[in-house]
Symmetry: C2
Subunit: 247 residues, 2 copies
């Protein structure tokens, strides 16, 4: 799902966990209705923040239309998290003992069109002489495995930390958010798959954003967050452009 495709801004916004939708082919994966709507199925609020940023930054936005419990587009097909048998404290009955043929079917139905769509966006802009900046947008639950999380805004780096650090510094300057680098996760947890496959090999500036989902629980709150973060992303980009010129 691509929105604002003709955008002229440098950012490409990516939302792998935008939807909790489970296509009929996969039934309910053995989950209750509450589980199907919980953070284990998607990143609540992330798409709204991404849309708010897309408008403010004139940025193209790509988001996955299927729950990460069917296929997590931020994971390679052989990672346990791609079709998780367990997520936080929940078992996913439809994902226990997945056969190789079923892994292949989900990879072909969801992961391949997703990666091709995003890669096409990136390669086309590169061909036009633009150097897109890839930012993935996620939300995280305030309480995980029973433990509350203090961080409100996490910025996570893959191989190149320049943009994440610049965004972190801008967030500390422009907002009162509790902002941290590589929290509540880091690349070691395999959460930077999209950046690693799509941005790092092309040498594109990139970052992963994590927003605590209690701060973006309504459409208004998500829009207010986008309002706070748009200047943060712009300041981060200006900073790395300065660094590039200086070096």
């Amino acid at each position: 799902m691509i929105e604002n495709e003709a955008a002229t801004g440098r950012f490409i916004l990516v939302c792998e966990h935008a939807s909790h939708m489970i296509p009929p082919r996969w039934g309910d994966l053995g989950l209750t209705e509450a589980q199907q709507l919980a953070h284990i199925a998607w990143d609540p609020g992330a798409l709204e923040v991404a849309r708010g940023l897309s408008r403010r930054l004139d940025a193209v936005l790509i988001h996955a239309p299927v729950s990460r419990l069917v296929y997590d587009c931020n994971r390679a097909p052989d990672m346990a998290g791609a079709m998780p048998a367990r997520s936080e404290v929940h078992d996913i009955p439809g994902n226990t003992d997945i056969s190789p043929a079923e892994r292949l079917a989900r990879t072909e139905a969801i992961y391949l069109p997703w990666t091709e769509g995003l890669h096409g966006l990136i390669a086309r802009r590169i061909a036009l002489g633009l150097r897109p900046v890839i930012v993935t947008i996620h939300s995280f639950t305030p309480v995980f495995n029973g433990k509350p999380r203090r961080v409100e805004f996490g910025v996570i780096n893959d191989a190149d930390a320049a943009l994440p650090v610049a965004i972190l510094n801008a967030a500390r300057k422009l907002t009162r958010l509790q902002a941290e680098l590589n929290a509540p996760y880091s690349a070691k947890d395999d959460v930077t798959h999209t950046l690693r496959v799509q941005a790092t090999p092309y040498g594109l500036p990139n970052a992963m954003l994590e927003i605590r989902n209690d701060l973006i629980a309504t459409a208004e709150a998500a829009d207010a967050m986008a309002d706070q973060l748009a200047p943060v992303l712009n300041m981060g980009l200006v900073e790395i452009q300065k660094q590039a010129k200086a070096s």
Copy 2:
């Protein structure tokens, strides 16, 4: 162009410069017939060696059906070498002052289907629980910019040198070829684009092979080279499997 797609061996063989064909849409790029058949347009003999290896290793083979002078599939769309205005001592008139729209058109016509085809092969195998091993196969001219080259068989690494080093050692043990690591090129020359985009992000073993083209100038010579190199690749793979078990 995919051959032997149902192969069950672990290797995926890749030949980016298999063809000197220029589709009618791009005319002759302003080149003489001799230039259109020279090593600047393709890697003579590489496809024959790759086919010989594909048969002997029961390996799937993917090769690009278009001259690298139209689009070099081993280059990102913004690299000068993707649509080179000059190659070795030859100007390429059809590639001077390429407009952004033309860069985009060639990227969409050639690079995107190529990368999607190869990525699909890799992702499907990963989903099935196989861990493919990516080997790109090239040939190089014995005389470059007037200087003769002594190396006969080069093995080039991207981020992970384990397989290239194992192949080099096997070549020195099993053949009399003048074999060298990172010769006549290395990753610094941007020659490992395919490996960097397709293998490194998935943590797959990978290597780039370079064979001096005077050694594979006939179909018989290319087949004899495949006969020499098939056990070399197998020995290299066995060696890194041993190392993986030991660690």
